[in-house]
């Protein structure tokens, strides 16, 4: 077998196949630790805040938010784009890195995919409640209706978004579940209680690891990866078109699709690092998520952060060069207007902070990476805030100029989505194998 000496082994600690099974199944087969209960309780409290603020929004109406003329999209769409962006790293790791044969993906793809799915759940809340009458949430679907034959408008990027996000969620779920099947079978065959045997047996679908099934499984995984790759790129491209196809200065730029995709990968990796650094510490997975993994992920952060930074500067230069005074004003207003603090926060967090990853020490020191990953998350939230709010708050008519600040309801919903996200993630960590055992077992011997 080929081994490259410059690479460190992907799994350390001299693990055997059965060690992998035992280590990964431990949280599922034992009672949750106090730290799990603590985290889970905080998440549930936040989830209750989400339920409360959403109920208040529906009861009282969308007026509980400060969105108004001319800032019709405020925190809600900012949060939507933020969460969708986070939802991009999972499929990127499992699909694009599979096509590039990056074996370090194997220890982290499961949790990254789970994160993707939960992030898309969180994202879906915002456009749905933003409609105001959430019970009419099925209206964007192309359904026969009672208003003559008034169908949905296929020329609208908002409709493309409906198709893109729902396809992305469904395909990510299928990809995730397919990857889980062999591992669920492992848990099933180790199960000691009747309930566990039944449920894991139910979801394992009779998997027995036959070589015939593995042969097909690998082909199916490869094709799913192949089609998920353009899917990931298309989803955020379409999200960016929600903005780019409008005629608002600051939104109407052709750089948006690649810039949004790079930003999505950047923010997704930021969130993956935040979660994995916690999981690695709490669950003792240092042998599986090694500093080699952290280093690889920080390199992706460095690359995509630089692409995003380049996009910010390009956007600015193009605006200056365009000779179009409204475009020029929009960008000057971003940098020096009343929301300049948000713009410079974004520039610091996304462009400058990740540059520390040029240093090897920064790429391999977990606590430091954790801090930078939080900064990246904050920066990417501000990026969307800057794009949306600074472009809208100063209209073509100076008489409609307003300042926008979120109400406690909008803040509550945003905090609440973290509750939803982490509740799902804690449940996932308790009931499903967080590391893809079957794939990790193939790499415990090699250094590639």
């Amino acid at each position: 077998m080929y081994t490259a000496d410059i690479r460190q082994p992907l799994v350390t600690g001299g693990k055997t196949y059965s060690d992998v099974t035992k280590d990964v199944c431990r949280p599922i087969e034992n009672k949750p630790s106090p730290s799990w209960w603590l985290g889970f309780s905080i998440a549930v409290v936040l989830l209750l805040i989400l339920a409360g603020t959403l109920a208040w929004t529906v009861w009282e109406g969308i007026g509980t938010w400060n969105v108004n003329k001319s800032v019709m999209w405020g925190w809600d769409i900012t949060n939507f784009v933020f969460w969708v962006g986070i939802g991009h790293a999972g499929t990127l790791i499992s699909a694009i890195l599979l096509l590039f044969r990056q074996k370090w993906r194997m220890a982290i793809n499961r949790s990254a995919e789970a994160m993707t799915i939960f992030a898309v759940f969180c994202a879906a809340i915002f456009p749905l409640f933003h409609m105001g009458r959430v019970w009419l949430g099925y209206w964007p679907l192309p359904l026969p209706n009672a208003f003559g034959s008034l169908w949905v408008n296929f020329n609208s990027p908002l409709l493309w978004d409906v198709f893109a996000i729902s396809t992305y969620l469904s395909v990510s779920l299928v990809f995730w579940y397919l990857g889980l099947i062999p591992d669920i079978a492992t848990v099933r065959d180790r199960a000691t209680s009747k309930a566990r045997k039944f449920w894991y047996g139910f979801f394992a679908m009779g998997w027995n690891g036959s070589a015939k099934s593995w042969g097909r499984y690998e082909v199916v995984a490869l094709i799913l990866a192949g089609i998920s790759t353009p899917l990931v790129l298309s989803v955020h491209t379409i999200v960016s078109m929600d903005f780019a196809t409008s005629v608002i200065p600051g939104w109407h730029t052709t750089i948006f699709p690649p810039y949004f995709v790079a930003g999505a990968i950047f923010s997704g990796f930021g969130m993956v690092l935040t979660l994995l650094l916690i999981a690695r510490y709490v669950m003792n997975y240092q042998d599986y998520i090694t500093s080699e993994h952290l280093e690889a992920m920080t390199k992706v952060i460095l690359l995509t952060g630089s692409i995003v930074g380049l996009a910010y500067i390009t956007e600015f230069v193009i605006a200056a060069y365009s000779g179009y005074e409204y475009e020029q004003y929009a960008f000057a207003n971003r940098m020096f207007g009343p929301y300049a603090w948000a713009y410079w926060t974004m520039m610091f967090c996304n462009l400058m902070a990740p540059q520390v990853f040029w240093s090897k020490w920064a790429r391999t020191t977990p606590w430091f990476i954790f801090i930078i990953s939080i900064i990246v998350n904050i920066g990417m939230w501000f990026e969307r805030f800057v794009i949306i709010v600074t472009s809208l708050h100063r209209d073509f008519l100076p008489s409609s100029w307003v300042m926008y600040h979120a109400t406690w309801v909008e803040v509550g919903i945003f905090l609440g989505t973290f509750g939803l996200f982490f509740t799902c993630f804690f449940m996932f960590a308790k009931f499903l194998p967080v590391i893809n055992m079957a794939e990790v077992k193939t790499i415990i011997k090699d250094k590639e």
Partner: protein, 212 residues
């Protein structure tokens, strides 16, 4: 061809259990060279080149996936064209609403292509591998999804090599355990039930040999 459940057939297998994928692969190659027909192998993770060594062809699922994708693409186009051009053209700003707006149908066509491909292919995969919710698994070793690799030979198959030779070969190739009449079982039995089942099967097999 759908995989058959070996549980339903009450088949007896000669099995060799390995704890190393390289040894398993070597054993498969050696047995194949000697002309032994192998039923299947069961491994906790995909062993590279194993399907090749067993003589399996690459699956045709990709063709099915392609057809599903074409169907999805066509559905996307039909949906958009019927709704926005045929049934109710939405004229906004006096712009044409005919086949010339085809480009704005592309995102929906693209998304549906992917959706249909993914679901179609995964459903076909489940159907061909005989996988369904609630189906009983057929295991030859309790640890075949953990750390053991099972090489199974159907006892009803006519072999040019004698059973003793096969067992000897398996042992020589590094099998940690060999068994010449193993029946498939499932783990939905509790350990006690399983023990009773094993005792029963050994009793019946000894009876049969006595009759002979």
């Amino acid at each position: 061809m759908v995989d058959k459940s070996i549980l339903l057939d009450n088949k007896k297998f000669t099995v060799g259990i390995f704890d190393d994928s390289d040894k398993l692969l070597h054993a498969v190659n050696t047995l194949k060279e000697k002309g032994v027909k192998i039923f299947d192998c069961y491994t906790p993770f995909p062993v590279h080149h194993l399907d090749h060594a067993l003589g399996y062809h690459r699956t045709n699922l990709t063709i099915g996936a392609f057809l599903c994708g074409m169907l999805g693409c066509l559905s996307g186009f039909t949906l958009a064209y019927y709704m926005n051009v045929v049934d109710w053209p939405m004229i906004i700003g006096g712009k044409p609403q005919d086949i010339s707006v085809f480009t704005s149908f592309i995102p929906v066509m693209f998304e549906l292509t992917i959706l249909f491909t993914a679901f179609g292919m995964v459903i076909m995969f489940f159907a061909r591998s005989r996988m369904m919710h609630g189906i009983k698994e057929d295991l030859l070793s309790r640890r075949q999804t953990d750390d053991h690799m099972v090489l199974a030979i159907d006892n009803e198959e006519d072999q040019s090599v004698s059973n003793e030779d096969i067992l000897a070969l398996l042992k020589k190739e590094g099998a940690i355990e060999v068994n010449d009449s193993k029946e498939a079982f499932n783990t939905s039995l509790t350990s006690e039930e399983e023990l009773a089942e094993i005792l029963k099967s050994t009793k019946t097999s000894t009876k049969k040999t006595k009759k002979k």
